[in-house]
């Protein structure tokens, strides 16, 4: 069996052997302005232009994804079938709510919103004027429920979560009816591709990050425990990982996705407030922990005889505490590098599942789903290039950035590189 050759990190002296010495050492360490590993790494990372550019890009992307509903984009779900199918990229201005089928006042979202507000206010004041408090509360409750159903946003955005709903309100307050033109063109049902790419990135990134975090939690705990305990436990735990490596997980995923799509299962999940898509992330995460656990184990194996671990043991810390308090933080460098590589694979896996028709379901969009739609419209007979190029570019850029950042981090965190660059 091979050890994963991984760079060993210098151990941080976080615990001292005896109480008296402790304060003295602490005192000394405060006086010496040492450069911590992280500061050092950050210094080196800053010098790597590709990695820094990637980092900036990713931060912007994350912000854009989180605040997508705030941006003056068109609705990703509103389908203007009659006039706007397969429009190539253009700069024609767009007014929110102008589609005939919506029957909005003046063909404008703001006008409709104003009309709606007025009627709501009027009705609410009528209800509020009822004397009987019980009846009033009852009616008000029913009314609020109804009002939220009738809100014009539902007509345009279909289903919005509470957070997205609030953000959309702010967005309308700021930008009014104005929306960015269809710079990326429109798709086969007349939806704006630019906004779909943004909303899709949002879902894809969330899938990538959540799944990676799940894999992180499982992988790090498993690897750290195996590595720290060593011996037979380690051997057995690693054999199990070997076994799991040989399981064709894609097949298991297909089963699980079918299984979780089942009504009875869904109902049970709903009871606990879990959405199907959450499970979806967790499944993907549960697949990607294997390599993580191997890497962490390798690290921990080399760390467990370090002095600070011995020290903690001498002081009487429990194995759990030693592992998670002292050992795991020291593997973070490798783990972070590995994280930047897992997110891309998860995002690709999501795209793959979308291709097989097992990914997220509408009205949600993801980059994988967009790409799948795009590939369908890609033919020599007629080339709707924009439906595949823009989502493809969005995905590729994200993965590009993650890869470069990962490379940069690896170099930055590798002490052997210290004196070279």
């Amino acid at each position: 069996m091979s050890e994963s050759p991984s760079p060993s990190l210098p151990s941080r002296q976080t615990e001292a052997p005896d109480e008296a010495a402790l304060s003295r050492i602490l005192q000394e360490s405060r006086e010496i302005r040492g450069v911590s590993l992280w500061q050092d790494a950050w210094r080196r990372l800053r010098r790597n232009r590709a990695a820094m550019a990637s980092l900036v890009f990713l931060v912007i992307l994350m912000l854009a994804a989180i605040f997508t509903p705030l941006l003056p984009l068109q609705s990703p779900a509103d389908k203007d079938l009659n006039n706007r199918r397969f429009l190539p990229p253009n700069f024609d201005s767009v007014v929110m709510g102008s589609r005939e089928g919506l029957k909005f006042e003046d063909g404008r979202l703001t006008a409709q919103l104003a009309k709606y507000q007025a009627s709501v206010e009027q009705e609410r004041s009528e209800i509020l004027s009822i004397d009987d408090p019980v009846e009033r509360a009852e009616k008000l409750d029913a009314f609020e429920k109804r009002a939220s159903v009738e809100h014009p946003f539902n007509q345009l955005w279909n289903q919005l979560g509470p957070v997205a709903f609030t953000m959309c309100r702010i967005r309308v307050a700021i930008f009014g009816d104005w929306a960015v033109p269809s710079l990326f063109g429109t798709d086969k049902l007349g939806r704006d591709l630019l906004s779909r790419v943004f909303w899709g990135s949002r879902v894809s990134l969330v899938v990538g990050i959540v799944a990676t975090i799940v894999s992180l939690i499982i992988g790090v705990s498993y690897g750290a425990i195996a590595g720290y305990l060593g011996g037979t436990v380690d051997a057995i735990m690693m054999r199990i990982v070997d076994m799991l490596y040989s399981i064709p997980f894609i097949f298991v995923v297909i089963f699980l996705v079918t299984f979780l799509g089942e009504d009875s299962v869904k109902k049970i999940l709903d009871q606990y407030g879990i959405e199907q898509i959450t499970i979806f992330y967790i499944i993907i995460g549960a697949i990607y922990w294997l390599t993580m656990s191997r890497v962490v184990r390798g690290q921990v194996l080399s760390l467990r005889h370090e002095q600070f671990v011995e020290a903690a043991r001498t002081v009487g810390a429990s194995p759990g505490r030693i592992i998670f308090r002292h050992v795991v933080p020291n593997t973070l460098g490798v783990v972070i590098v590995y994280l930047t590589l897992t997110i891309p694979s998860v995002m690709l896996f999501e795209a793959f599942l979308s291709f097989l028709g097992l990914g997220v379901s509408p009205p949600d969009v993801s980059l994988g789903l967009l790409l799948n739609d795009g590939v369908e419209a890609l033919s020599i007979v007629k080339l709707f290039w924009w439906v595949v190029v823009f989502p493809g570019a969005a995905l590729a850029l994200t993965l590009f950035a993650l890869n470069f950042l990962g490379d940069g981090l690896r170099d930055a965190l590798d002490p052997k590189m210290k004196n070279r660059s």
Binding site: V149, P363, V381
Partner: protein, 714 residues
């Protein structure tokens, strides 16, 4: 490990890699066929009694010939370009119908033989139809013969005391020469028969019915009941059979007892083990064989569409001698199968192709122009189109939806109305959908024209009724009108003004791009027009069907293709006990009208009754019809003899290849007996109706994703 060994290992690895590459690049090359079809997916089986889908039917119509065959009849419709088809002689050279329309006498050709030279006789049809109806065959089209006396009873396995029955003893032959009786092992086959005995059922001895607790599941209950039924002991007076196979029902008999479960508490010592006791369908006069070349069918109802059924593949003959020799499913292997149509199977490779080779023994072999045909299992729409564009495929059956607007402009694109309908089933047992007003409101608020023009795209016929237009003699009732205001009013009447308070409704569809697009558009339309919220749920085909069958959904997508050109094929779905009803809807009046129609021998009156039934259906709206499908095909101009037809049937033996340079082919074709049909087809090709005027048609599904989809419904 010593370094020499290490070096050796590296060399070994390189050598292994080299060998692997050499192995991987060896191919048995196979010349392409003269004519290649995109068949959509692998045929599930080549057994005509077990097949159900379009991919299967394209091959089966080429491989087998029935009593009759669907052939072009008359001129194509000038507007739609649709070529009418009618059942015309095939294995039967002619047939007569009695005045009461109940007896059909078919006269078989003398030169009809199986592809191995064995002659086809009327007995083959008796055997084949019995096999088709036998419960163990589980033919999904068995109902097509239910108007033959005792067929339904035979097929559903019901026997009553006093019935004349057949008994199949537990001694089916095994391939190794032994029988079940020797080994005691069950030999599960669709229809290979052990020793048959015939007699009158005198008594059924039943052990006490099992007591079941209240809380057992439906499945367990069913299981227990079936176990109990298996332990019944049947007491029969067995009659004698003469050498012609006729039974002397009123002659001397011997009393014997039979059971399927030898451990049955009510069995005697001499009770014999049997597979099943069924009504003796094949001996009770439904089918008669006065001689080898005459086949008589007696019906209970005057079905006007019976000849169409006789031209449909479930009623085709199957080679008894081959099935008995190889057993099922081995007989369908390319090396074993024997057929009686224009083509025989030359090769079958999963996920790749079925190669059909001209059958020189077919009675019309002289007129068959194409020597080899490949039915390719190409599923991807774009893949198939790419192959078409590069000349690897000559006939595309499923062009990509995204490109239809462009493809529609081309001369090699054929779209023609088809007898099929796309609809949403509604669960009429759930609130609030149990209210017909709500169902109508939903239905009226859907803008079908938009769906047809912008999503399905070739611009197809929006459906405001159930039965597609184009069935001769049928006057459909006036459908409803799409009317958003009236829909709002209906919703308000039902207690949900402005869509207020209506719970979220789930729309279930099976995973496919096309269905998804339609579902999304309907979702938006209902949201915008009625403020009704639709939640979309997609499922894989298997789970989807399960949900539908168990009526565990709110609204579910479905489709239906006519089995025969008659309104009945659409209407009898909604009978109270109809296996396809699956909506919980039931109307005594509707059932009654269909029943009367079945017994009516006057064609006009019958159609009126059916029309009345449809009117009730429209009024109650247990289903939201969306649109009528169109058959879409793209065929290379070099292929002659292709024409759009109402059931999307395209007989392969009428097609020929025109290479342009090869004048001889044309001359040959013109001189052939089938010249008339070819001429019609040629004319159709040379002067096609302006395509822009065609009722455009699109299959909004991506059926390629789901083989079964194509099968019974899209």
């Amino acid at each position: 490990m010593p370094p020499e060994l290490r070096r050796l290992f590296v060399i070994l690895a390189v050598v292994v890699m080299g060998i692997a590459v050499v192995w991987a690049t060896r191919f048995d090359s196979m010349p392409p066929a003269d004519f290649s079809i995109q068949n959509g997916t692998d045929p599930k089986t080549l057994d005509p009694h077990r097949a159900t889908g379009q991919p299967e039917s394209r091959i089966l119509f080429g491989m087998f010939s029935g009593l009759l065959q669907m052939l072009p009849d008359g001129d194509p419709d000038p507007v739609s370009g649709l070529q009418p088809m009618s059942p015309q002689p095939a294995v039967a050279k002619s047939y007569e119908v009695s005045d009461d329309k109940l007896t059909y006498t078919f006269h078989l050709r003398d030169d009809a033989v199986w592809s191995d030279g064995v002659p086809i006789t009327s007995e083959d049809f008796v055997w084949s139809w019995t096999r088709m109806l036998h419960p163990a065959t589980a033919c999904e089209y068995n109902f097509q013969l239910f108007s033959v006396p005792f067929a339904e009873q035979f097929s559903s396995g019901v026997v009553n005391v006093g019935d004349r029955c057949e008994v199949e003893l537990f001694d089916r032959p095994n391939p190794d020469g032994t029988t079940e009786a020797d080994t005691g092992e069950l030999n599960i086959q669709n229809f290979p028969r052990g020793t048959m005995l015939y007699g009158t059922l005198r008594e059924i001895r039943k052990p006490p019915e099992p007591e079941l607790a209240e809380d057992v599941t439906e499945d367990d209950r069913e299981e227990a009941m079936l176990n109990w039924q298996e332990s019944w002991v049947f007491v029969l007076d067995i009659a004698e059979e003469d050498e012609n196979g006729d039974i002397d029902w009123d002659g001397p008999t011997t009393r014997q007892t039979f059971t399927a479960d030898m451990d049955s508490p009510v069995a005697d010592e001499d009770t014999q083990r049997v597979h099943n006791v069924l009504v003796a369908f094949s001996k009770l006069g439904g089918m008669e064989t006065p001689d080898e070349h005459t086949f008589v069918v007696n019906l209970e109802d005057p079905l006007p569409y019976f000849p169409s059924l006789a031209a449909y593949y479930p009623l085709f003959p199957v080679p008894r001698h081959v099935i008995e020799k190889h057993g099922a499913p081995m007989w369908t292997k390319a090396e074993n199968i024997v057929s009686n149509g224009p083509y025989v199977v030359g090769l079958r490779r999963l996920r790749d192709r079925v190669r059909l080779v001209k059958n020189p023994r077919w009675f019309g072999a002289d007129s068959v122009a194409i020597e080899t045909i490949d039915a390719l299992s190409t599923e991807g729409q774009n893949t198939a189109l790419n192959m078409y564009e590069t000349g690897q495929i000559d006939w595309v059956t499923d062009p990509p939806t995204a490109l239809l607007e462009t493809l529609k402009q081309r001369d090699d694109f054929y779209a023609a109305p088809m007898l099929s309908v796309y609809f949403f089933r509604i669960n009429t047992t759930r609130k609030p959908l149990d209210d017909p007003r709500i169902r109508r409101a939903l239905s009226m608020a859907i803008d079908r024209q938009q769906i047809v023009d912008q999503v399905a795209k070739a611009g197809q016929v929006p459906a405001y009724a159930l039965v597609p237009p184009g069935i001769v003699g049928y006057e459909p009732p006036p459908g409803f009108k799409p009317d958003v205001d009236a829909a709002k009013q209906l919703l308000a009447d039902a207690g949900y003004p402005g869509g207020r308070g209506i719970p979220k409704i789930t729309l279930l569809y099976n995973t496919s791009e096309g269905h998804r697009a339609i579902a999304e558009v309907v979702q938006q339309q209902l949201q915008n027009n009625l403020n009704v919220k639709l939640e979309l749920q997609n499922m894989e085909w298997g789970s989807f069907l399960d949900k539908t069958n168990q009526i565990d959904y709110d609204i579910a997508r479905a489709g239906w293709i006519a089995d025969y050109a008659d309104p009945n094929t659409f209407l009898d779905l909604w009978l109270t006990d109809g296996p396809q009803n699956s909506t919980g809807w039931s109307s005594a009046e509707f059932d009654q009208l269909l029943k009367e129609a079945a017994a009516e021998s006057d064609a006009e009156k019958r159609m009126q009754l059916l029309s009345q039934a449809e009117a009730i259906w429209i009024d109650e709206m247990p289903v939201i019809p969306l649109y009528f499908y169109v058959g879409i095909n793209m065929v290379k101009p070099r292929i002659k003899g292709f024409f759009p037809s109402p059931q999307d049937l395209h007989p392969l033996h009428l097609m020929s290849i025109d290479d342009g340079s090869d004048q001889q082919t044309d001359a040959e074709v013109a001189g052939k007996p089938n010249g008339r049909d070819l001429f019609i087809a040629d004319r159709l090709l040379s002067a096609p109706a302006p395509l822009s005027k065609l009722p455009s048609i699109i299959r909004p599904t991506a059926p390629s994703q789901l083989p079964n989809e194509k099968v019974t419904a899209r």
